[in-house]
Point group: C2
Chain length 127, copies 2
């Protein structure tokens, strides 16, 4: 697919990397909070589209991962968008369960931000 078709066309042509994966961001619809970043392969993408529930590919377990199967944090997909060169996916979701998408028990995986003090880099916890 040429660049114009990739960027300005109506054909959905996700570009998986050399490991067969594409990066995916899940955002909570109501708050626009970024919940997590994960990866999909073709199977996970197909399952997500077919079921309307987010599926990812676990790189650590090397297995299809229906988000929420063990935690209850099922993510109902309200929309799926793709970026200009189709190598990143954005899911807008409604989070099920208690809404804590991160496996650490937090709502978002992005719970620490960088601070610089006395020239040293350290992480501080949000709130």
């Amino acid at each position: 697919m040429d660049k114009a078709a990739l960027e300005e066309g109506a054909d959905f042509a996700p570009r998986f990397d050399s490991n067969g994966l594409i990066v995916c961001i899940a955002v909570e619809a109501a708050t626009r909070e970024i919940l997590m970043v994960a990866y999909m392969n073709q199977l996970a993408l197909d399952k997500t589209i077919e079921t309307g529930v987010a599926h990812y590919w676990s790189r650590s377990r090397n297995a299809l991962w229906r988000k929420g199967d063990t935690s209850g944090q099922v993510q109902r997909v309200l929309s799926l968008s793709v970026d200009c060169d189709q190598d990143a996916i954005l899911l807008t979701v409604e989070a099920g369960g208690d809404g804590k998408a991160c496996h650490t028990g937090r709502k978002s995986c992005f719970y620490r931000r960088l601070e610089i003090g006395d020239g040293a880099r350290r992480l501080v916890f949000a709130e």
Copy 2:
């Protein structure tokens, strides 16, 4: 670094992939809109932290890329967060120039969403 330190510690220990890259999401502070997804290597990350302006690593050009150098879309970084296992970075930014972060002239790279009609997948443009 063990899992507990990685996830619950104050040490900033970004995990670059086998290509020396880490995925990075840029969000507009005022609107929480996701502008783009790009990659950083250690150099780009250091430059971002030192200057307070987003630097990425261009995989296509294989070069350090100070966002906005040619487009004027400089991104002033208000905060830099890391996810639980420190393999993804989230930048909250103020966009300079006319605010169009995408090289296609749009504000966000995520300007198309997937629709299913008659069993076929196609992209439709936002707004």
